[in-house]
């Protein structure tokens, strides 16, 4: 039970932090249409996060496992999607490091979405058959959105990678910035409830990304050092800044609503 709650939070945290980070683009996109596009992508992630947090809250409230509640402090009281998003600290967040990275330029952002949505597309394909029926339902629902995100972002990666000298150079820089954070995407967390064949996920992800990067004329680094730890609560300093901004109001004015 504890593993399933943590896994649900892992899926929720990935979607929330991805969506929150991308929403920083709203009003700053390179052209109006793409500003709207990336804001729509962010909105999809926030919607997915809400579904996963609601599911986690239902499980937590129904759980009698006091040890879990003590270890997470804030969750002793009735949990809701809002308490889970706004009242957990960085060490409790279980998202991948990739999603908390600063947006960088447009090239870095679309490369990040491309790597993440390839992972999400393949992951949800497997989670649709999870024995936890609510996780399966959320995956089925979200898969269609992940399909759009992957198509849209991969077109941008190809356009910029196989574009001008300037755009190609920027995408090489984006690869240098992001690649080291893609290593943990297809690794199982320590609280893996066993819905996903991670070896298969890694193989499919490698194939999908290799095809996109090849078309984009971007080289994959050979045998690079990969960062990890996000799923276990060991984050970059960037997550703290996201949470500080996102959680400030609820921390300063508890239970305020609008």
């Amino acid at each position: 039970m504890e593993a399933l709650i943590k896994y649900t939070l892992h899926l929720a945290d990935n979607a929330l932090i991805m969506g929150h980070r991308l929403s920083e683009w709203t009003g700053h996109g390179p052209v109006l249409e793409q500003d709207i596009a990336i804001s729509n992508v962010a909105l999809d992630y926030i919607g997915q996060a809400r579904n996963f947090y609601q599911h986690a809250a239902t499980q937590i409230n129904g759980s009698t496992n006091q040890k879990f509640n003590q270890s997470t402090n804030q969750l002793i009281h009735q949990s809701t999607e809002d308490t889970l998003a706004y009242l957990r600290d960085a060490i409790d967040y279980k998202n991948h490091l990739l999603v908390e990275l600063p947006n960088g330029d447009w090239g870095q952002s679309v490369l990040k979405i491309c790597c993440f949505s390839a992972y999400q597309f393949l992951l949800y394909n497997q989670l649709m058959n999870a024995t936890d029926l609510q996780i399966a339902a959320i995956a089925e629902k979200s898969l269609k959105e992940a399909t759009y995100h992957l198509r849209w972002s991969s077109e941008w990666v190809i356009r910029l990678g196989d574009g001008t000298d300037e755009s190609h150079q920027r995408m090489r820089t984006a690869m240098d910035e992001i690649w080291a954070f893609t290593g943990e995407l297809c690794q199982p967390p320590s609280y893996d409830p066993g819905f996903v064949n991670y070896a298969l996920l890694q193989q499919q992800w490698n194939e999908k990304i290799a095809a996109i990067l090849s078309e984009a004329t971007l080289a994959i680094p050979a045998d690079p050092w990969m960062q990890s730890g996000g799923m276990e609560g060991r984050h970059t300093e960037d997550l703290g800044y996201i949470l500080a901004e996102m959680q400030f109001l609820q921390r300063a004015y508890p239970n305020s609503i609008w």
């Binding site: 709207i36 729509n40 909105l43 992630y45 609510q134 629902k141 898969l143 269609k144 849209w152």
Partner: protein
């Protein structure tokens, strides 16, 4: 006050026909295909709805509008349940709904789960000489196109 047990499900469906999507106001929630079931259990009416997109910001408002419409007809014990599976698809949109969309100026979904690069019928001049401007339009459920004949930009309700 009306007791749920005294009202037919047909009547409830008729009431739901009057509840519109706040972002595409020509479509009722039935045209959109987001009402999955109507159940009457003793004195309670339960409406089962499903979101179009996970992040659709209109869902809370749609729930509230359904509740208000039923309240107006004297029902008070109302439960609105949201289900995710099976996932909503534009296949559930009614033919009447698609016609209303076209008249409103939004191209209706016509190919299964695809964003055609071109060839979507312009809702203004009916030309098929059109091109995709952006996969994401004014809302998550629409893409942005332009017509190369009448030069008007228009929204295309994406197949989903």
């Amino acid at each position: 006050m009306v007791v749920a047990g005294e009202i037919s499900t047909e009547k409830i469906w008729h009431i739901l026909e009057t509840v519109c999507d706040p972002e595409v106001p020509v479509l009722s929630v039935l045209d959109l295909g987001i009402v999955r079931d109507v159940k009457i259990d003793q004195d309670q009416v339960e409406i089962v709805i499903t979101p179009t997109y996970s992040g659709c910001p209109a869902m809370d408002m749609i729930s509230m509008n359904i509740r208000l419409a039923l309240l107006e007809h004297g029902l008070s014990n109302i439960k609105i349940t949201s289900v995710l599976s099976p996932a909503w698809t534009t296949d559930w949109m009614t033919e009447a709904g698609k016609q209303k969309l076209k008249i409103y100026g939004i191209a209706a979904p016509d190919k299964k789960f695809e964003i055609p690069a071109d060839g979507v019928e312009c809702p203004q001049c009916h030309s098929h000489n059109t091109s995709l401007t952006s996969e994401f339009g004014s809302t998550a459920c629409k893409a942005l196109y332009k017509c190369k004949d009448c030069l008007e930009p228009f929204d295309y309700f994406k197949c989903h």
